[in-house]
């Protein structure tokens, strides 16, 4: 299995363990289906195929957009197709190349949504995760830091009122609950880390600050 496939498998395991919590969070401001959407998203993530990382990422993104999960799956799919547009040959994916790919994925997402940090969306977890990965020394170390940054970002959305997406019409009523999209990003990065760490025989705490 390639590193990407291991990361995606880990992400799927995280979402499967937490999908009910995601749906419950979505009941606050949405229609309560975010957990089941994410289950369908990670199913596609696991089925991604391709001869090299670029093809693999593009296939993953396109498959995710196809699950018809509204804004969540469109934006997550865009993240992976955006990663596939990374510079370079796209045939390998070392730490610097993965950092560039994450940057490209984030840029693609931000072209499609006007949501800014602080608007209580997945952006609040994705922006710090990508930045933290860029500061990592190895892929594993970067993913650990990215997962921690994403979790903090998601947790901080608890104190924000929604300003974007369907939840914006509820505004202050969303205070006190983290954004389910941001929590999903945190789970994905935690899964990326664990999927890779477990294959390398490292413990869940390896590489922490």
């Amino acid at each position: 299995m390639t590193d990407l496939a291991l990361m995606f498998k880990g992400a799927a395991a995280q979402i499967r363990a937490e999908h009910q919590r995601l749906s419950a969070l979505d009941c606050v401001a949405g229609d309560g289906d975010h957990g089941s959407t994410m289950l369908r998203v990670v199913e596609q993530l696991e089925q991604a195929a391709g001869a090299d990382p670029r093809e693999f990422l593009r296939d993953a993104g396109w498959k995710i957009m196809g699950v018809d999960g509204g804004a969540s799956s469109s934006l997550l799919g865009t993240f992976f197709t955006g990663m596939a547009d990374m510079p370079g040959s796209g045939e390998t994916l070392d730490c610097a190349e993965l950092a560039a790919a994450f940057e490209y994925g984030l840029a693609a997402v931000r072209r499609q949504t006007k949501a800014q940090p602080g608007d209580k969306t997945m952006i609040d977890a994705l922006v710090p995760a990508v930045a933290a990965f860029g500061a990592g020394k190895t892929v594993l170390n970067g993913l650990r830091q990215a997962a921690d940054a994403a979790r903090t970002g998601a947790e901080n959305t608890r104190n924000l009122a929604a300003k974007y997406g369907r939840a914006k019409y509820l505004g202050d009523k969303t205070l006190g609950h983290p954004d389910p999209g941001a929590v999903s990003i945190a789970l994905l990065f935690e899964g990326f880390y664990r999927g890779l760490a477990e294959s390398k025989g490292e413990t869940g705490n390896a590489g922490r600050g």
Binding site: G32, D33, M65, G66, G70, A71, S73, S74, Y169
Partner: protein, 332 residues
Amino acid sequence: MAMKKFINQPQNIVPETLEGLALAWPDQVRLVGSNIVARAKPKAAGKVTLVTLGGSGHEPGLSGFVGNGMLDYSVAGQIFAAPGAPRCIEAIRLASAGGAGVLFIVLNHAGDVLSANITMDMARREGLNVKMILTHEDIAGGKNPDDRRGLVGFLPVYKVAGAAAEQGCALDKCLEIAERMERNMRTLAVAVRTATHPSTGQPIFELGENEMEIGMGQHGEAGTGRMQLKSADETAEIMLNMLLEDLDVKAGEDLLVIVNGAGATTLMELLILYRGVSQLLQAKGIQLARGKVGDFITTQEQAGFQLMIARMDPELMALWNAPCDTPGLVVR
């Protein structure tokens, strides 16, 4: 209260709904590709085609308006969730076969707009001739057009643009007509009782026993204000006055009025409301030139309605009156 709905497996709701639509209206629609509703008989080549997308659970909207005189293709998403770009581009490619270009009509909801924008990127890359129009006429969203959702106003937009396409108008002309219709319409919704999400069985919002909420969106998005439930005439007056002010309607102008049921509000109630609107307009010297009453876009068994007004000119009125034959609307 437990959900009481006649469904089978929750994951089969959308395909089974679409199969039922095609079986019940075999002369109007058929299914192509994956959850794409197409006309039973494709439009002649050389005419502009109309494509839309939207979540399911709002029947007859949106796929119920595929047919002669209105849409060519509708891409149906999951319950209350937009379809992804891969299936939208599939429909756009099919619609491009006629060679006259595609008008892509999108209701302003975050997920739909995202899918549509990604689809438009793909269409440009493939060199397809597609123009997109966003409908956003829900005045509960406030002054910023980006915050105004697309509600039942899709109906006159599909109708006038569809009629123009049928008459052989070029893509730019169809777009101009759709945009003129869109600019001149306003909608406001009110809810009195929640719906259950058919997949999860959960209520999509909470509303007190004797409350109503003006401005609530199609998915339980919060509106502008909750208040004590009022009579039909009082409710119609509050909502109509807000709409008339926002559209800046003057005495002597011609209006199209639509009263759209949310799913569980009876035709009896809708007719009483329509009567109230008609009398109020008469008192203000505004002409109710045309009207429609019925369930065009619903949210399951939600109770409430949408009131839409649109300023009509002779060209828009002629296109509104042109024939169409779809599961959700027939004009002879």
